[in-house]
Each structure stands twice: as C-alpha cells, then as structure tokens.
C-alpha cells in the first residue's frame, strides 16, 4: 500500500493515482485533489 502524503493536505494515498491541481469555485482559486488515471 502506498503511504504518500498529498501535498499540503492531511490526505494519504491508499490506492490509485492522484494529483494536486487547481480549480475555481465562485471566482476563488482553490487547490484540490484529483483522481487521475492518465493514459
């Protein structure tokens, strides 16, 4: 089991591929985590 910390969060990876990214909510720039399985 992977046990990597996601940057600037208290989440830890158990499985899958995740990344830190940004998005916009109501005009505010937010940092978010995204499950990504890139091909």
């Amino acid at each position: 089991m992977a046990n990597n910390y996601l940057e600037n969060s208290q989440f830890q990876i158990s499985s899958g591929t995740w990344k830190i990214t940004t998005s916009t909510i109501k005009g505010s720039l937010v940092k978010c985590i995204q499950n990504v399985v890139a091909v």
Binding site: Q12, I13, V30, K31, N35, V39
Partner: protein, 160 residues
C-alpha cells in the same frame, strides 16, 4: 484522456482531526466536490477501514454519487453497503457542489446540497466511532482543499 475507474482511495486518519473517535462519528461534515461524468464518487465520512464503502470489514456511513448522478447516503456493515437515502437529479457533472452531512447525538443523519435539505433523513446508531475518512473516487473527480483564505475546504465540526 482519463480512464474511468473506481476504488482509487485517499484517506484521513481521523487522529489528525484532534477529536475523539466518538466525536469523529458525530457532528457536521462539509466538503466541495466536482463529480466527473460517468464516475462513482464516494466519501466514507465515518469509517473504521481504509477503503470504499464495500471494503472488507468497512463499518460506517457513506456519501455516494453514482455513475448516473444519483446521490445516496448509506450505511456499511462489515463491508456490505445499504443505501438509506436516495436522491436523483440535481447533480451536474463538472460543476462544483457543496455537500453538508450532519449527524446529531440521536444518530439522525441529514444531507444538504449547497445549503438546502436534500431528500429525507434517517437515524442509525450502529457505528459510534470513526477512524478514517476516505475518498473513493473515479478518474476526473475533484475534491477541494480550499482557497488561500480558508474557504471551500473540508470541514469536520463536532457540533451541528
């Protein structure tokens, strides 16, 4: 290009919330999610196992957006999920939505979408402690960690 999958999990060890295991299982949980089209998006907000709602041995409660955008609150016992509240419609993939779930001291669960009550409530007192909060997402699902001012992040409050 994304490959749709289910069961990719990240989690919070609730010790980091600095609440007791009992306090972890009651109160208010609020978060912002952007559900990807065709994905299954699960938040096991009360759990004793790292994994999805059907993980072996999972005891707790889950929030679920199905591949057809049906929103569910449910209970897992020993890894067997049972939907308690089901709401169809109102979820648009690719849009940010705030969900708030409350559980009061009597075990009453209530779900809100963008501050508005969503569907019916239910009461359950089976699981009274929680060790983990788990996100079991499909590819493309997003979970907000917040902006620089501390808005739009995940919040767990002891009291409602």
């Amino acid at each position: 290009m994304h490959t749709k999958c289910c069961g990719c999990v990240v989690y919070i060890d609730t010790v980091k919330l600095k609440q007791s295991l009992i306090e972890n299982a009651y109160g208010e949980y609020s978060f912002w999610i952007q559900h990807a089209d065709g994905s299954n998006t699960q938040v096991i907000f009360i759990g004793d196992t790292i994994g999805a709602k059907n993980a072996t041995g999972q005891d707790g409660y889950y929030f679920d957006i199905s591949t057809s955008e049906v929103v569910v609150l449910g209970e897992s016992v020993g890894g067997t999920p049972t939907d308690k509240v089901t709401n169809s419609g109102g979820i648009v993939s690719g849009e940010w939505t705030k969900f708030t779930i409350t559980r009061d001291n009597s075990g009453l669960f209530t779900l809100y979408k963008n501050g508005n009550l969503l569907g019916s409530t239910f009461t359950d007192t089976t699981a009274t402690t929680s060790n983990y909060i788990c996100l079991s997402f499909g590819a493309g699902d997003l979970f907000s960690l917040g902006d620089k001012s501390g808005n739009y992040n995940f919040k767990k409050l002891i009291t409602i």
